[in-house]
């Protein structure tokens, strides 16, 4: 059973003065997330990430399609006991203290009153807010509010945690702390679905990512595979400077140090290059596939359609 299974989920918004035109905020989306997986949902601002999360949380209703979460319909209220959600740039009731807020949310999630006190203090300690006492949230910094946000998302010990841009607007220290928190949730075996446009965070935390752009899924896969695919090059090192001239047209960035030559080659040209080196009597030292960055993949996927349109 998939933790999350999205089938053709779509959302159109009526636009214009007469609301007759439809703007597709999310084109039919198919996606599965496995149990215990950290899944990154990447896309630039306005790509459809928040729309997807709002649909899954039942905050807005889909124009088409459906989804299951933990094997149940995503609109089933009982399944929501097993989910946690942190919205983008969250605002909480600022007249409450952190323990009061968590008590309120724990109550709404069905945590028994007898268990709440213990759970609240343990969650506050976990997010590094055990010393806030009865200070009202209006006096909290943005980083502290984000930690409260994560605390409210996990107070009822959910199996899946949905996080919408959890590092958005945080300073480097705050981002590091939130990243550590997410990593610890992942280590506990929770399924994590988080949207972000900060690619280094996704690269550090995610097992798999999906790229969404202009409401459309552009790519999905294991982070390492995506990075390899986007580079599609290998670095070759050999001994035998005399062979360099024979493979010059296949190599990019060749660099010779004495008899040792190093260069990169497109994977499609790799066999040809190796055969030529062998025939030239060069001694092969290493062939290393090059990894691109997630940013390369992201840019490639978000620019793909623009290139087609042009």
């Amino acid at each position: 059973m998939h933790a999350i299974e999205i089938r053709g989920l779509a959302k159109d918004y009526p636009v214009g003065f007469w609301k007759r035109k439809l703007h597709p905020a999310l084109k039919p989306l198919d996606l599965t997330v496995e149990s215990g997986e950290a899944f990154g949902f990447l896309g630039p601002n306005g790509a459809g990430k928040t729309t997807t999360l709002k649909l899954l949380m039942g905050i807005i209703f889909p124009t088409a399609g459906s989804a299951t979460i933990l094997g149940k319909n995503f609109l089933d209220h009982e399944v929501k006991r097993r989910l946690g959600f942190l919205p983008e740039q969250p605002y909480f009731y600022d007249y409450l203290s952190a323990p009061e807020l968590l008590d309120y949310y724990a109550g709404l999630s069905g945590v028994a009153a007898a268990d709440r006190k213990k759970r609240i203090s343990s969650v506050l300690e976990r997010v590094g807010l055990s010393d806030v006492g009865s200070k009202q949230l209006r006096k909290f910094s943005k980083g502290m509010l984000q930690r409260v946000g994560i605390a409210q998302a996990i107070i009822h010990e959910p199996e899946i945690v949905f996080l919408d841009e959890p590092m958005s607007g945080l300073d480097p220290l705050g981002r590091h702390e939130v990243r550590e928190l997410i990593q610890s949730l992942k280590d506990e075996g929770k399924t994590i679905f988080f949207s972000t446009h900060i690619l280094s965070d996704a690269e550090a935390l995610c097992d798999r990512v999906a790229v969404i752009h202009k409401g459309e899924l552009r790519g999905i896969g294991v982070v390492n595979d995506l990075r390899s695919n986007v580079a599609n090059k290998s670095e070759v090192i050999w001994e035998g400077a005399q062979a360099a001239a024979a493979v010059r047209e296949l190599l990019s960035e060749p660099h010779a140090t004495g008899e040792t030559v190093r260069g990169t080659v497109q994977n499609s040209d790799l066999d040809r290059l190796l055969e030529t080196l062998r025939s030239q009597g060069a001694r092969l030292i290493s062939v290393t596939p090059l990894h691109g960055t997630l940013e390369d993949y992201f840019l490639a996927k978000t620019r793909e359609q623009e290139a087609v349109n042009r």
Partner: protein
């Protein structure tokens, strides 16, 4: 379900208390008490009448103002600030949220009314140097004011479930004014004919009848307030506010919270 409803109710009440809505009213109650000796100097014999009229009208008016000011933001503020996202992502039904909000604001208004009632009785005690049997009638009038709050909260909640705070305030205030003259509207309807008759009669029964819920004058003049009137008013307020709250739920159940 009950625990979720009570959690939302208490949080709504707590928000009103911490936003210092109640404190303004406590100040009012204190002012009323402090000004009690002035009423005694206005005119011998009618100081009680004036004090009761001013006191009960103030409880009604202040409560209505709070119902509008707080009520118009009950839903829209939660959408605007996205606090609703963290509620609806939990096993909370949308109707539970609306009904919880309803009871939360009603609780706030009832506590307000109670505090002001205490102030009114102290003022009466000072002015008349004691309470008489007829002063118990005030409680019946205050009960009818609470019934009026039940309807007003339902209306503001209905507007808040689909409109902006400014329009909600305008709609709610307009309905409050029209509802205050509901009896006049009925009389006007009786004088018309044909299509206008149907239209005005329909409007007269559709708008909240705050005129019938208002027994301040009877209480001030020591006239008896019959049990059947109180029972009828109670039934009317329960049914009217129930229907309006159900309409708010129906709208909110289908709403995309962008």
């Amino acid at each position: 379900m009950t625990s979720r409803l009570s959690a939302i109710t208490l949080n709504t009440f707590r928000e009103a208390v911490r936003d210092r809505v109640l404190y303004n009213l406590i100040v009012f109650a204190l002012l009323l008490v402090a000004s009690a000796p002035l009423f005694g100097q206005i005119s011998i014999g009618i100081e009680r009448l004036i004090l009761v009229n001013v006191g009960l009208s103030s409880i009604s008016l202040f409560g209505t103002i709070i119902a509008i000011l707080v009520g118009i933001g009950l839903v829209s503020k939660e959408i605007e600030k996205k606090t609703l996202y963290t509620i609806l992502s939990r096993p909370v039904r949308r109707w539970e949220f609306i009904v919880g909000k309803y009871f939360g604001l009603l609780l706030t208004l009832v506590v307000n009314a109670l505090l002001m009632t205490v102030g009114l009785y102290i003022a009466l005690l000072i002015t008349a140097h004691g309470l008489k049997k007829g002063d118990a009638l005030l409680l019946a009038a205050i009960y009818c004011i609470v019934l009026q709050f039940m309807v007003m909260v339902a209306l503001t909640l209905l507007f808040s479930s689909f409109s902006t705070p400014i329009f909600s305030a305008i709609f709610a205030f307009a309905l409050f004014v029209i509802g205050t003259f509901a009896e006049d509207l009925k009389n006007f309807a009786a004088m018309t004919q044909g299509f206008t008759h149907w239209l005005t009669t329909g409007a007269a029964y559709l708008v909240p009848n705050f005129a019938s819920l208002n027994v301040i004058s009877q209480a001030a003049h020591d006239q008896p307030i019959s049990g059947s009137l109180i029972a009828f008013n109670t039934l009317y307020a329960v049914l009217y506010s129930g229907a309006v709250t159900a309409a708010a739920v129906l709208i909110f159940e289908r709403r995309n919270l962008k």
